[in-house]
């Protein structure tokens, strides 16, 4: 009588591989589909503003050329940070203590501060707003980001579900 199993011989190595696959699959699930908390995560659009300070005019022009283009995290492993919708700029300012002890805001010549408005299809739960790779988008958090033309360092100013513009 034949003693065949459905998939042939099932040895220890096969078992180890199956366990390894399950562990990898669980890791991938937790990394990409599990939220920092155990609540349901929904993928949805939200908007955030991002402040960059004291950049050159050429960098500002580069950001303006990148409007409607994608923004990415500018690190070794990159990820989607959204679509650049708007760039608002003004001459850069800095706090200066004068000889009489006063603190005054003064312009930095040839440099600009800018606020970028970015739309992101990310994830939202009661813990906050997240990029698709679970980078936390909250006021005060700093990132290096890049567009087609420009790379800048700055911080998140505000996050909303509705576009304020």
């Amino acid at each position: 009588m034949s003693n065949k199993k459905p998939f042939g011989k099932f040895n220890v190595i096969d078992l180890a591989v199956v366990i390894a696959i399950l562990i990898i699959a669980a890791g991938v699930y937790v990394r990409f589909f599990g939220s920092p908390t155990k609540t349901v995560v929904q993928s949805t659009d939200f908007f955030y503003t991002f402040e960059v300070k004291s950049i050159r005019e050429s960098n500002l022009i580069g950001l303006e050329k990148s409007i409607n283009g994608k923004i990415y995290l500018n690190e070794k492993i990159t990820s989607d940070m959204g679509t650049l919708l708007k760039v608002e700029s003004k001459p850069a300012v800095d706090l200066l203590e004068t000889a009489d002890g006063k603190q005054v805001l003064v312009n930095i010549p040839e440099r600009f501060d800018a606020v970028l408005t970015i739309k992101l299809n990310g994830r939202i739960n009661e813990s906050g707003f997240f990029t698709p790779t679970l980078k936390h988008i909250s006021a005060g958090i700093e990132y290096n980001i890049k567009s087609k033309w420009s790379a800048v360092f700055g911080k998140v100013l505000r996050v909303r579900q509705e576009d304020a513009a």
Partner: protein, 160 residues
């Protein structure tokens, strides 16, 4: 029989490939690389700051030569020009309550303009696998000169 895959082995292999593909897509696959111009000619400026006179001369002597740029040692471009000027420092005028750029009494800065044919996509300019954009840390080095903390200060697409 030894040396042959069973059905179970094939299922396992496919499962491993599927898991790696899904993980790879979510981790690396978000950046669009859609092609718009395969051969765009650009020039970009890299600023080397706070150089001694000898360092600045080393840059100037390389006009027309080649330069390796970027973090991977793979980007090779041609130095179109090198502009040497006094190194600018952002000074504080605490009497008048101003900040202004002043020249360093001794040191110089070199603005190295590099020409390169690049791959232009919707998201990036890539020259020899090196991404080029304004504000990006872009070390440069060549024959007898180099700068490890240089930034791209401007980028222009050249008309064909």
């Amino acid at each position: 029989m030894k040396g042959k895959f069973s059905k179970f082995d094939i299922v396992v292999i496919l499962a491993v490939i599927a898991v790696i593909a899904v993980g790879g897509y979510y981790y690396f696959g978000k950046e669009s690389k859609s092609l718009s111009h395969a051969n765009t000619e650009i020039e970009f400026d890299v600023a080397a700051l706070n150089l001694s006179l000898q360092e600045a001369q080393s840059f100037k002597e390389q006009e027309g030569g080649s330069v390796i740029f970027g973090k991977t040692n793979m980007g090779v471009g041609k130095i179109k020009s090198v502009k040497i000027e006094p190194y600018s420092i952002l000074a504080k005028d605490i009497i008048n309550g101003e900040r202004r750029w002043v020249d360093h009494p001794e040191n110089y800065q070199a603005i190295v303009t590099i020409e390169k044919k690049v791959l232009e996509t919707d998201d990036v300019f890539i020259g020899d696998k090196e991404e080029i954009r304004i504000g990006e840390l872009t070390p440069i080095k060549g024959k007898g000169f180099g700068c490890s903390s240089c930034y791209v200060t401007d980028l222009r697409v050249l008309e064909n």
